[in-house]
């Protein structure tokens, strides 16, 4: 009896062992990579089940097993910082604020150069090489851009402009903007110009005064563009808008969402947003019973004739970490996700039948389950992506398509007004690499103190100068220029 049990156990054990070998062998065939992107991305819905469906769909189409790490958007930067430094590095992750962070990650040694992979890949090398030129570290490219280079500018509601007699061309001067927007301050229920809490966006106004508020190469030499008379002039202009009630009083607590909501509901008359938001605004304003047209103001022309839109260039970028065991598979994943329309469609607007489904007229509509977790069906992501989506496998609601020609026109036009953008010069000076992000926060603090009136221009800039001295700023510039 006991022998029988023993034999039985032995057989069972061998069987299990064999099974294990088989499964692990199969595993070896389909490579696994770990991918870290924030939760707003995987199919645009935050519902865990829907995200899982998107991952399955991608695995099927790319032929790579994906181990997803999905932190919330608001903690993404910190989670990546933690993962990179704790030995749990993902193979692939998406770098936020790529102009700053990709150089940082590269200088720290966390990510690998991708030049060879790009050269070998027909899809990745077909892209305009200028895109890769935005961020070069030591002459090498460390990233694949997530989307086409992106810009921001002002959007003005037509109904509000008509109501208050605001007459602005698509490239008004700063004076005109001030004068015309001032007319709206008579109405207490309208916010003439709504702004989000992200001070980076001040750069749009800095452009009009010829200011680039960062350390950047001016005529081949690195300078601090922030502590300049022009920057003070620009901040005083913003302060004037703020003090006279044109600029949103509570902008410092506004999320982007709040700002957008204010605009399409008609609570605000103007805001600052991405070039691909036209259809979004048209669509949402009609849903909110406040339908109108939206006029782009590509740039404000300053007193010396300068100006340009807010050029964010590469906002998000894919990078591969130095511990990645299978960079080929990792690159394949990135390449397919970025340049293959079928896969980009899944990650941008989700899975057919789960995220969206055709209604009785055959037009694709978002499903309630997806809608409840922040999903909306909008062509703007596809629009911003690299591939061409001629065969989508579904039909857009014609209401959305109506706005598309104008959106395409706007996207073309904004390219004529591109503002300056420089990647952070990482890897040249240890001192600089240490303070690059603190310096950015310091600039933002200085600017917001001035605009909100908690310090005078002189006071705020003398604080900034003290800080500059404490980090040995002049020496940093010398090191950068070496």
């Amino acid at each position: 009896m006991r022998k029988k049990i023993f034999v039985f156990l032995l057989v069972a054990f061998i069987l299990m062992f064999a099974l294990l070998i088989v499964t692990s062998a199969r595993k070896a065939k389909t490579p696994t990579i770990s991918v870290c992107v924030s939760d707003s991305w995987w199919g645009s819905s935050r519902d865990p089940d829907l995200q899982a469906a998107v991952i399955r769909e991608m695995e099927k189409k790319i032929g790579i097993k994906i181990k997803a790490i999905i932190p919330p958007n608001s903690q993404y930067k910190q989670k990546v910082g933690l993962l990179l430094n704790s030995g749990d590095k993902p193979d692939v992750f998406r770098a936020f604020q790529a102009m700053n962070f990709v150089p940082s990650y590269a200088a720290q040694g966390h990510i690998i150069p991708l030049d060879d992979y790009i050269k070998k890949s027909p899809l990745a090398s077909a892209v305009d090489p200028k895109v890769y030129d935005y961020i070069k570290i030591g002459g090498k490219t460390y990233f694949i851009p997530f989307n086409k280079p992106t810009t921001k500018f002002l959007w003005l509601r037509k109904d509000k402009a008509d109501k208050f007699g605001v007459k602005l061309s698509s490239t008004p001067t700063t004076e005109e903007f001030y004068r015309e927007m001032k007319k709206m301050t008579s109405d207490k229920n309208t916010i003439p110009f709504c702004f989000p809490k992200f001070i980076d966006n001040f750069q749009f106004f800095y452009n009009s005064f010829g200011v680039y508020a960062n350390i950047y190469p001016k005529a081949g030499k690195y300078v601090d563009g922030f502590n300049t008379p022009e920057a003070k002039e620009a901040l005083l202009y913003i302060k004037k808008l703020y003090d006279e009630g044109i600029w949103d009083k509570v902008f410092i607590t506004n999320e982007n969402n709040k700002m957008r909501e204010n605009l399409f509901k008609g609570i605000a008359a103007c805001d600052i947003d991405y070039y691909n938001r036209y259809s979004y605004y048209i669509d949402n304003s009609s849903k909110a019973n406040a339908e109108t047209d939206f006029l782009p103001l590509y740039k404000l022309v300053g007193p010396r004739g300068e100006g340009g839109n807010l050029n964010e260039a590469i906002q998000d970028a894919w990078v591969i970490t130095n511990t990645c065991k299978n960079p080929d598979a990792a690159f394949k994943f990135i390449e397919q996700e970025t340049f293959n329309p079928q896969i980009r469609q899944v990650t941008a607007i989700g899975v057919k039948g789960l995220h969206y489904a055709p209604d009785d007229k055959g037009y694709a509509q978002p499903r309630d389950v997806a809608k409840a977790t922040g999903y909306s069906m909008n062509p703007q992501f596809l629009f911003a992506s690299f591939p061409d989506f001629s065969d989508k496998g579904f039909k857009w609601d014609p209401k959305i398509l109506k706005s598309l020609p104008r959106q395409i026109q706007i996207a073309k036009e904004t390219l004529n007004h591109v503002g300056p953008c420089y990647a952070a010069p990482a890897g040249r000076s240890d001192k600089y690499d240490q303070v690059v992000l603190s310096l950015k926060q310091k600039r933002e603090e200085t600017a917001s103190k001035i605009v909100l009136g908690s310090a005078s221009v002189e006071q705020a800039f003398s604080d900034y100068a003290n800080y500059w001295k404490s980090i040995d700023g002049d020496k940093i510039l010398v090191e950068l220029n070496r």
Binding site: S40, S44, P48, I70, N73, S74, G87, N257, G374
Partner: protein, 289 residues
Amino acid sequence: MKKINNKIKNSFGRKVFVVFNGILLFCICLVFIVPLWNVLITSVAKDQDVLGNVYLIVPKSFSLKQYSRILQSGYFKSFVRSIIIATIGTMFSMTITLPAGYTLAQKNLVGRNLFMNLIIITMIFDVGLVPFYVVVRMYGLINTYFALVIPVGLSTFNLILIKNFISSIPDSLIESARIDGANELIILIKIIIPVSIPIIAAITLFYFIQYWNRYIEVVMFIHDNTKTTLQVLLRTLMFESESATTGAESVYDNFKMAIMVMGMLPVLVLYPFIQRYFISGIMLGSIKG
């Protein structure tokens, strides 16, 4: 004569105090209720009533749409998950904290000072998130439910509260039981726990709330979205700040407020059951003497 006068004076002063006290506490309650009231009625208002710059004090409309939206969204699963984690976690925490507090409260314990100092040091020297993560990873807990319970299972704060409470219990009570030959576990269960019900109730509640509201550890220790807790998902819905590539359906104030209400519902339901015990201590007081 004098005495009687005094008594009248006393009771008059007392009356004034009672009235004054009542009014004062009423005012204090008002300070607490008004913002909460605003949250509640905004959460049941219709979209058009929460747009723009409004602060609702008088309800304008009633609709449970936002709540049904939350329930529809598959958040129910994470709700259940959160409750399970908080309940198991609280039990785990209490089974460690209570015996430890009891032992440390014994004045003749071997090495008592050493133990206390070791514990206080941990209160003073903070552990950075990165080293903490590395260690939790070393134990293989990352991305498991255990990571949400074990590494954060003990609160020195609560341990010291319990320890100090137990040391205020007269020794005679414990000693007589020891003489009767009861072992320590029996003493703890039969004597200490019944006397300490109020503080145990309070600490249980604290632990539960800590587990329920935990955020940063969940975000850092859990990779998988299907394992996160309600708080993480709710907070994401509430405070998403977008990047260029996403364009979420816009979130109105009523939805946000409904989320806030949902997020505290279990604690709200739990509280009255536990509160009962805060006051039951009065009767037990007499045993102590």
